[in-house]
């Protein structure tokens, strides 16, 4: 009897299920594994929906989530250039000779401290969830991602991009996708996808500014500055994205900056330019540090502290209006803040 293992990619199962060089019996076993795999994916999707619904019900009832730990454990794994997750566990990453391992541990711990000290949040789920990271994923892999339960980082190709763990905004960005999953639950398509991406850029940049003790004027508001390789720098690019100037010529991945430019199906990394610019404009008008006031508004909206109901297909206008309402609810005596929030969104067409 074949044991079903969901760690085997679906593409591999399909390939074997169609391989005429395998016996009919063996091909049927792989088809069985595919059928179970499809059901497991459906269960995982349902589990996510159940998690969000349970959180919503608890929130309405005034129940706080039960923490599994006072602070999250941080665990690291080495993929050793394979794509099998999570990879081999790294014992004592803090004293590892691998600089990537040490850095990932340091920065992931710092992101957890960022959320705890500024927002009172205990890990991505606010219940002390262990933060798992896998490094050295794939071969010259030009990416980092959150897969629903952990972070994963590639080493870059060494030409256009370098080690993705070199960007503390990258680490903050990816972890924040976990926060969004456990709060608003935004899907990764259309306007909700752009909001999802923007929330990660906002908190990723905020984390970077917090580590550098920068106020909103001193911050450079660049995303991906530290992961550009020589091939990108040699052509004058200084970042992937610029929250303050989304379509600037120094951006390797320029974005749209006004809602009139948005269309359905747009890549979330492009449409996120709209709420990114709104956040930037609002913080510039308010001053201080990005987390003092405006960051609190954003956090209040995504966690429902100001009454936002998680809606996976949330529109940008809904989010904008939620921040307007949050300004009046959290800072009722601050008319200048409310005005700045309104003006920031109007500047991007919302």
């Amino acid at each position: 009897m074949i044991s079903t293992c969901t760690i085997v990619p679906e593409s591999v199962l399909k390939r074997f299920a169609d391989d005429p060089e395998l016996s009919a019996e063996l091909r049927q076993h792989f088809r069985n594994a595919l059928a179970i795999d499809a059901q497991m994916r459906a269960v995982r999707q349902t589990a996510t929906q159940l998690t969000l619904e349970a959180a919503r019900v608890n929130q309405l009832a005034g129940f706080a989530p039960t923490a599994v730990a006072a602070a999250p454990a941080i665990t690291l794994f080495d993929c050793k250039h394979s794509t099998a997750l999570p990879g081999a566990p790294i014992a004592n990453p803090g004293s590892s000779p691998d600089a990537t391992a040490k850095r990932t541990l340091t920065e992931t711990t710092a992101v957890a401290q960022f959320y705890q000290s500024l927002f009172g949040r205990n890990s991505v789920d606010n219940a002390g969830m262990t933060l798992m990271s896998s490094i050295h994923y794939g071969v010259r892999y030009n990416n980092a991602f959150w897969n629903g339960s952990q972070m994963t980082y590639g080493d870059g190709d060494g030409s256009v991009f370098v080690d993705f763990t070199l960007g503390n905004d990258v680490i903050g960005h990816e972890l924040t996708h976990g926060v969004t999953q456990h709060t608003l639950g935004l899907i990764y398509a259309n306007e909700a996808g752009g909001l999802n991406e923007s929330i990660s850029d906002v908190f990723g940049s905020m984390f970077r500014q917090w580590q550098a003790h920068q106020d909103v004027k001193k911050a450079d508001w660049l995303i991906g500055h530290d992961i550009l390789g020589q091939a990108a720098k040699a052509k004058g690019f200084t970042c992937l994205r610029d929250m303050g100037n989304p379509d600037a010529p120094h951006c390797l991945a320029p974005q749209v900056k006004h809602f009139s430019q948005y269309h359905g199906g747009m890549d979330p990394h492009i449409s996120s330019g709209i709420p990114n610019l709104a956040f930037y404009k609002i913080t510039q008008a308010v001053g201080e540090h990005s987390w003092d006031t405006v960051g609190k508004l954003w956090y209040g909206v995504i966690t429902g502290a100001v009454g936002t109901v998680p809606r996976p297909n949330m529109l940008m206008r809904e989010f904008a209006d939620a921040t307007r309402a949050a300004a009046k609810k959290l800072f009722p005596a601050n008319a200048a803040l409310a005005s700045a929030v309104d003006a920031g969104w109007k500047a991007v067409g919302l």
């Binding site: 990619p9 399909k14 030009n142 990416n143 980092a144 959150w146």
Partner: protein, 94 residues
């Protein structure tokens, strides 16, 4: 037997924009029978629809080939694309 153009899209860095591309070309005759079957299955499965990435910052792959009726293009999620196709791409700054 023909070629398949493989273009890597999206990801944290946003491949596919005006300056940042990542692509390769694979000769179908160089693929194993299983990989050729997998590629054909992708063209069948995503002929009339595409799918958003399963998780944030995952890649999508745009596959294009020439047929008697012209160019056929589909977009497939990262986890469904055979490794040999994914390994064919290289990033470029334009």
């Amino acid at each position: 037997m023909g070629e398949v153009r493989v273009e890597q899209l999206g990801g944290f860095v946003g491949f596919g924009g005006p300056h940042l591309k990542s692509w390769g070309v694979v000769n179908l005759s160089s693929l194993s029978q299983a990989d050729r079957a997998a590629v054909e299955a992708l063209f069948q499965r995503y002929r009339t629809s595409s799918t958003a990435p399963a998780h944030p910052d995952q890649f999508r792959y745009r596959l294009s080939r020439q047929t008697a009726a012209g160019t056929e293009t589909v977009e497939a999620p990262e986890h469904e694309v055979p490794d040999v196709l994914k390994a064919s791409v290289s990033a470029r700054v334009e």
